[in-house]
């Protein structure tokens, strides 16, 4: 292949790397009002009175809005396809404040100083109420976080408002009790996963203005332009036809920008004042007033017979969704759906879970989307089971893991009633190669380096999906311009991953044209074709399939017109990217000439190809991850020496970009495993709210990263491809926990695994 599976440079690479003005705040008009938010200092409170008169009187203040000024219609900020499973449980501004940082009032002023001054002039009297800060105490707590009667859910999500339950789910196959009866070895443990922060380098931001038709235009750093349009329409109670959403380049998303955390604030200011308005969250707001990964408690019970055949897996999850439901029903379901199929030899599996409201920041979508949490819990338990069985954990997986062509009851059935199978799966090869790369057989489980230092090895495997089956859809349009070049119109959102590039690669491959003949446009909801957006590992698979269809569609039209201009039948010609030419003759016509003649009086047309796709299944990418750590036995300090990830993402569309995505995802997972601690005060205020207190890995925190691909071919994927965006974050926490255990005998079940936990665990072990 000429373009697919090639290390093509990112089409926007040079521009972003040399500082061109392409991000939201680089494009905003200089006269835009500055929007600032007054936030709740209390975890749970009700506004008794609010006086904004002094703020309004301050020169330069254009508007001050409170709960009295917003529509009394509840909505969700979660970027999901309609009808969303997310409860509609929030207002733009509410009388009840549900976490420290919840929005009390919106101020817009001519500059930042004035806006900040105005915030201080707003007088609020709060009735402070008892908050729910511990998610393990949320169910049935005397405090009901959402007492309102106009809350709305679209369909049954196991919601129980008065018990603080945002959602409940059960996944079950086989008789779990009987399965455990057959087991000789059982592991039963509880794991805690922290509310990791996305910490993308570009904080949340958007600006808005009215266009010449009095329509609301919103420019936003978002992963979900079409959902933003729909969310704004409901929140602001105006028709979607009156809203336009534009996505420029995005400075990182990781799922954070799959929630419309900020757009509504400048939008309502623009509607009220008629003026352009912008909001830029500072780093503290980004940390404490948007979304994070769902903190979870996961209990795992796992059993195997004496030969190491896993018979039963029972997982029980509790997810902290914080103040609002946003992604609660989906994230914690995926925890079960995309971990249990890994071990399909089990006779019975079960996953039961609740997502609960607390008076903390809302949880949302974050790369891995529940699977990351589930993988940590399940893989830690699998490693412990291997220990109990006295079996090499790689061997235990070899015996039990799913293989190509196999199915799992958790994967469900096709429309015709037959079980969904793993049509592509190279997990077995991933494990084999990973073991070789890290020299597993030589080094496992541990070896001494010096009197004070010891090294340990650990592993984990994982899967994810590629788009959401039967929900995600993407349409793409490709048009042949009058000068013989193409415009590829996309609704997916490249957030730095290079998806615009790889989609252009696919179009180039089909059309056999050079990359520079394709310009990519994304996203403007007035122009772009519909796409659910870039999340759920969907873009390569879902949008990619749509691009292939659009490219094939326009190719056919090129051949049709070429044949017509050559006075030939379509069967008698072929298109080679440059020319439509006779198969048996020497006549040919260039693409440029076809383009010009089509738009002329002769053709009276323009060639526009389109293609749409929605997956019936969500093919799983796989990873086998291996960690080697070195531990200072006197301080507990963990140095990550080597991390090996062998990846099956089907055909690798762009090896360079896939490698970087993988390395970036691994480091995010490593951060979660070792550094990224989330601390709240006893009053419910997030303490880890700056990059000084919340440590994402720096470049010296990472040892060697080894990323290799072990490709399968996914028959339903574009050129055989599956996703890579999310799966890469999943393995490090469990693999590193395993390596730490093998080095010093401390079982870390509560992330992150800090030196303190390691050393105190060692001292504890010594005592007992």
């Amino acid at each position: 292949m000429k373009f697919v599976n090639q290390p093509i440079e990112k089409i926007d690479g040079m521009d972003v790397a040399t500082g061109k003005p392409v991000y939201t705040d680089d494009l905003v008009m200089t006269n835009a009002l500055i929007v600032k938010i007054l936030r709740s200092p209390h975890a749970f409170a009700e506004i008794k009175s609010i006086d904004v008169s002094r703020a309004e009187d301050l020169p330069g203040v254009e508007c001050v809005l409170t709960y009295k000024d917003v529509p009394n219609v509840r909505f969700t900020m979660a970027g999901q396809s309609y009808p969303e499973p997310s409860p509609y449980d929030r207002l733009i501004l509410d009388k009840i404040l549900r976490y420290v940082g919840d929005e009390v009032a919106i101020v817009a002023a001519v500059d930042e100083k004035t806006a900040n001054k105005a915030l201080k002039l707003i007088k609020v009297e709060y009735e402070v109420m008892e908050p729910v800060l511990d998610f393990e105490e949320a169910i049935g707590h005397s405090t009901v976080i959402h007492p309102e009667d106009n809350l709305h859910i679209n369909f049954d999500i196991g919601f129980n408002q008065h018990k603080n339950i945002a959602s409940s789910t059960i996944i079950e196959a086989g008789n779990i009790e009987e399965a455990f009866d057959e087991c000789t070895h059982i592991v039963e443990e509880t794991y805690y996963i922290q509310a990791q922060s996305h910490a993308m380098m570009e904080t949340y931001r958007a600006f808005s203005y009215l266009d010449l038709n009095e329509r609301l235009s919103v420019v936003s750093s978002t992963q979900i332009p079409f959902h933003v349009r729909r969310i704004l329409a409901r929140a602001l109670q105006i028709p979607a036809s009156k809203i336009r959403v534009i996505k420029p380049r995005i400075g990182g998303g990781f799922g954070g920008k799959q929630t419309a955390s900020v757009e509504v604030f400048p939008a309502i200011v623009t509607l009220k004042t008629g003026k352009p308005a912008k909001i830029i969250y500072d780093r503290k707001e980004s940390f404490s007033c948007t979304t994070s990964r769902h903190a979870m408690r996961i209990k795992v019970k796992l059993g195997a017979d004496r030969d190491g055949r896993i018979r039963g897996i029972d997982m029980e999850g509790l997810a902290d969704t914080g103040a609002y439901g946003e992604h609660a029903p989906t994230v914690f379901s995926v925890t079960g759906y995309k971990t249990l199929p890994l071990y399909n030899q089990a006779k019975a599996v079960r996953y039961r879970a609740h997502a609960v409201y607390t008076n903390k920041m809302t949880a949302g979508a974050f790369r891995g989307y529940g699977v990351t949490q589930g993988t940590f819990a399940l893989e830690c338990a699998i490693n412990q089971l291997a220990g109990k069985l006295n079996m090499d954990p790689a061997k235990l997986r070899e015996i039990n893991m799913i293989r190509e062509g196999e199915s799992s009851p958790v994967l469900g059935k096709k429309d015709d009633g037959t079980p969904i199978k793993m049509e592509s799966c190279a997990l077995d090869r991933c494990v084999k190669k990973g073991k070789a790369l890290i020299e597993w057989d030589r080094k496992f489980p541990s070896y001494e380096v010096s009197d004070t230092k010891v090294r340990g090895l650990g592993m984990a495997i994982t899967m994810q999906g590629s788009g959401i089956a039967k929900i995600d859809t993407a349409s793409t349009i490709i048009k042949l311009n009058d000068d013989g070049f193409f415009t590829l119109l996309l609704g997916s959102t490249d957030m730095g991953t290079g998806s615009d590039t790889i989609l252009a690669q696919m179009a180039a491959e089909v059309l056999e044209i050079p990359m520079d003949k394709i310009i990519v446009h994304a996203v403007d909801t007035d122009i772009s074709p519909f796409d659910t957006g870039s999340y759920a590992s969907s873009t390569t698979y879902v949008t990619g399939n749509a691009v292939i269809k659009a490219a094939e569609n326009i190719k056919e039209q090129i051949i049709e017109y070429g044949a017509r201009f050559l006075n030939q039948s379509m069967e008698a010609v072929e298109f080679d990217g440059g020319y439509v030419k006779e198969i048996d003759g020497s006549n040919r016509i260039s693409l440029d000439e076809i383009a010009q003649r089509v738009v002329s009086g002769e053709g009276k047309s323009q060639l526009i190809g389109h293609g749409s796709f929605g997956g019936d299944t969500s093919p799983a990418p796989f990873i086998a991850g291996f960690a080697e750590v070195e531990i200072d036995k006197e301080t507990g300090k963990i140095d990550l020496i080597d991390y090996v990830a062998v990846i099956d993402c089907g055909t690798v569309i762009n090896p360079n970009l896939a490698t970087i995505q993988a390395e970036g995802g691994l480091v995010q997972g490593i951060g979660m495993a070792m550094f990224e601690d989330v601390v709240y005060s006893s009053k419910g205020k997030l303490q880890t709210n700056t990059l000084m207190q919340y440590k994402i890995p720096c470049r010296k925190d990472i040892g060697k990263l080894t990323v290799e691909f072990e490709s399968s071919f996914e028959p339903s994927g574009p050129f055989g491809a599956k996703s890579i965006g999310e799966v890469v974050v999943n393995t490090p926490p469990a693999a590193i926990a395993h390596a730490v255990y093998n080095a010093v005998g401390v079982n870390a079940r509560n992330l992150p695994i800090t030196p303190e936990k390691v050393l105190m665990g060692m001292l504890e072990n010594k005592k007992s």
Binding site: E634, T635, D677, K695, P697, C698, P755, E756, M760, L763
Partner: protein
């Protein structure tokens, strides 16, 4: 929000001092890296950059470091890399990035007496005086203990006396603040053990230092000295670590410091 009403660049120290003492909320600007994170409402911000205080001079028996010398200039300075086993550069090179260390000044750090400081721990293990414009010259240890009335730190004076020194610290992320730091030094038989970021500001473990000074140093004595240090200094809890963890790692860090000095 940090605000500044007036901004001045005085031409002399006296002028700076007059500005400083004119009003309670007038302050001297260091590098501003930490000041800007405060919510201070500053009346007059006094920028010392016209006073040429960014020097590092080797004056034979002392090294003088001007208050406005940046951490980066300390880090790459040949004298400081040469003396005291390079403890000064070693202590500061792990503080965030080069662009941060090009901002932060020795004066800002020492005058503010930050508990998390790496530099103060290292300085305390040496024989260091500071010079205040009004308060004159005094030992660093005295200043750290007592502070001073509002004054301008002019320079830090390091006595060149062939102390052998070692700096040890524990951080989780390399770019984080220390969970604990330790500096150990020895001049002849005279030992100093300093422990900082406990999370309180660095202090000399006086009794432990004396114990080492008065005894022959061997493994048992090192252990004993460490125990004494643990007793005489108080350790606490903050977001970066619990008291018990700090105590647990103080032992190996002090030991490693002593062992390195003995090498």
């Amino acid at each position: 929000m940090f605000t500044i009403q007036h901004y001045v660049q005085p031409e002399t120290l006296e002028e700076a001092y007059q500005f400083l003492t004119a009003k309670r909320n007038n302050v001297i600007l260091g590098g501003c890296a930490f000041l800007k994170m405060s919510k201070k409402k500053i009346g007059t911000a006094i920028d010392l950059s016209k006073l040429q205080l960014d020097f590092i001079h080797d004056k034979g028996d002392v090294i003088e470091i001007g208050a406005m010398a940046t951490f980066r200039s300390l880090e790459v300075n040949p004298y400081l890399n040469q003396y005291f086993n390079g403890i000064i550069p070693k202590s500061i090179k792990s503080i965030l990035g080069v662009q941060f260390r090009n901002v932060v000044t020795i004066g800002g750090t020492v005058y503010s007496r930050y508990g998390f400081s790496d530099l103060i721990t290292a300085l305390l293990a040496l024989d260091v005086d500071i010079e205040l414009y009004h308060g004159g010259i005094m030992p660093l240890e005295t200043f750290l203990k007592n502070g001073s009335s509002k004054d301008i730190l002019v320079k830090v004076i390091l006595h060149k006396n062939n102390r052998i020194a070692s700096y040890q610290m524990m951080r989780n992320s390399v770019a984080d603040y220390p969970i604990l730091n330790v500096a150990v030094s020895k001049k002849g038989d005279d030992w100093k053990i300093v422990i900082g970021a406990r999370p309180r500001r660095a202090e000399i473990a006086v009794k432990a230092s004396e114990y080492l000074t008065n005894n022959e140093v061997n493994e048992t004595m090192i252990k004993q000295a460490t125990n004494i240090a643990m007793e005489e200094l108080d350790f606490g809890t903050n977001m970066r670590g619990q008291k018990t963890y700090r105590q647990a790692i103080a032992v190996p860090l002090v030991k490693r410091g002593i062992m390195e000095v003995l090498k």
